[in-house]
């Protein structure tokens, strides 16, 4: 097992808890979760609606700060990082595909893909080449300059993946990535996630979809219930 701080450990959560306060009431969305994910691993996070999957992804990606506990991302504890350092670390370390993809309407595939680069001073030639390579790889090269709201669901899914991978991050987080895909597109997505894993990236997918959770190549399935993890199991092991 590699040590924390070693780049081989892509994500580590140590007793991470996230509470939200709503007036007098307090909701514990993620409770005392400890989890370690190495590079080159594909982990599926499952659980019923409201079990805390999305918040857990947010904690892993440095988008949500834990109320208590610690989060390590790509060799660095991110809990106490200042905002701009955290943003830079997140930009370099995490590619994220949100539940509804999070593409900005009115922008083309290329413009959406280059959004992470705006705070760094904009795209350089190598970034443009990377976008060209990824759009060709995902079969949307001919849609590069099309505004995303004019594309089909499957094409938008791939556009979101292009954006998540444009900076070649070591961690890729996907929230319900097959929610709007048919069987053929889902199979394509599963193949692609396998490629990312094989390429050495840590892939974390929050999903209800058994086609993704039970796919070949998934290393671990983590089940969340009421904000906390049940025993992790390898795919194919008996249901908890």
């Amino acid at each position: 097992m590699t040590a924390v701080g070693d780049a081989e450990v892509a994500i580590e959560l140590r007793s991470a808890t996230k509470r939200y306060r709503d007036g007098e009431r307090e909701h514990v969305v993620v409770r005392e979760v400890s989890l370690r994910i190495e590079r080159g691993r594909w982990v599926v996070v499952r659980g019923p609606s409201g079990s805390g999957k999305t918040t857990l992804l947010g904690l892993m990606g440095g988008l949500v700060r834990p109320t208590s506990g610690d989060v390590w991302l790509a060799g660095k504890s991110i809990v106490h990082l200042r905002d701009h350092h955290l943003a830079a670390h997140r930009r370099a370390s995490v590619g994220m595909v949100m539940q509804d993809l999070g593409l900005l309407p009115g922008l083309s595939v290329v413009d959406n893909a280059l959004l992470p680069l705006v705070p760094t001073g904009g795209a350089r030639s190598e970034h443009l080449a990377r976008v060209a390579e990824l759009t060709a790889r995902f079969g949307i090269a001919d849609k590069r300059d099309v505004r995303v709201e004019r594309m089909s669901g499957g094409e938008r899914q791939r556009a979101a993946l292009v954006r998540a991978l444009v900076l070649d991050p070591p961690v890729v987080l996907l929230d319900e990535p097959s929610a709007h895909l048919d069987a053929e597109r889902t199979a394509e997505l599963v193949r692609l996630l396998g490629e990312l894993r094989a390429g050495g990236k840590a892939v974390v997918v929050a999903t209800h979809d058994e086609r993704v959770a039970g796919a070949e190549g998934v290393d671990r399935v983590v089940t969340l219930k009421d904000g906390t993890t049940e025993a992790a199991r390898a795919p194919g092991e008996g249901k908890e």
Binding site: G58, L63, A88, M98, D100, G102, L115, P116, P119, R163
Partner: protein, 393 residues
Amino acid sequence: MNRQLALLAFAVGALHRHLRRTVTLGAALAFTVAMVASALMLTDALRAEYAAVASTSPDLTVQRLVAGRPALIDVTVATKVREIPGVVSVRPRVWGYYFIPSLQGNLTVVGVDPRRSDVRRDLGRIVRGRGMRAGGRGEMVLGDALATFLGTQIGDEIGLPGEGGRPVFLTTVGFFEAQSALWTADALVTSEADARRLLRVPDGHATDLAVRLSTPDEASVVTRKVSELLPDARIIERRLLARTYELTFSERGGLLLAALLPALAAMLVLAWDRMTGLGAAERREIGILKSLGWSTADLLAAKVWEATLLGVLATVLGVGAAYVYVFLAEAPGLSDVLLGWSSFYPPLDLRPTVTGTQVLTIVSASVVPFVALSVVPAWRAASADPDSALRGT
């Protein structure tokens, strides 16, 4: 530098992507800026015009008051005043307000001596028509507004009631040029003799005395000596006159701006409402950008650029509209408020100027609050966890 340029380019794109919001806010801000700028430009232009006139006034104007009202002054006093050290010249003037019942308005009758070459020269500069002859008796030059009101043409002769109701017949020989309209709109300039007949000013008396001094610094000393000489005199110093004009327009301009404050406040409330009311979409966009590695500072910088671009665009449009309204359209509606004129409103032919102070005032009053109001909700959204962005809600 590259970062700011990239954020600026993103802000331009955001304005384009949210076109409806951009147009709504831009139009509201431009309208507000136009109102404030119109008030400032008109006030400043009028203040400048009056200051210019004050600078050509006599150093001292000596009037006589009886029971608190202006009364005629004996011209022999002029000789005594002339003997005061520091006085260069004293000129008795005949002028006054002349009420015409049929017009329900006052006009200003000014008597001049057309035999004097300097008078003919000065009039020649601002009069359209042949102007007054050296004799000048029975001739008059009219202000534009008055001439329009009377419907007179050059060569027309009109009779105005004089002493004992006997008409004084005067022939129109010219009109004042538009550039001088602010001062001559309601003026009837005629020979001193005809002015005396119209205003019932007997020979040996004048309306007031125009005093020139060797240096304006002598004004207070000479004023004191004239007061000793004429206990019932009211003496108006030129610099006090200029100060009065300054205060008058500052007060009126200030009142006008105060009246415009509700409009400004309404615009800013609208901006606040739009910026915060659009929350769901905007918060979502902020959350997405944050998940892509934008820091709070990046998001705020983009928002500041966006609001500044919109603010600058609206300011340019608003100031441009105000310029056209004030200097080309002659500020219909607003000029009445500022001039407080009585019967014959002059066509305004103001010297077009937009000063740095005006622009700074406008930017401070409208653009700066607008930018601040747009940044606050963005800062609040950017500072929070972008949870809704992750959930797509």
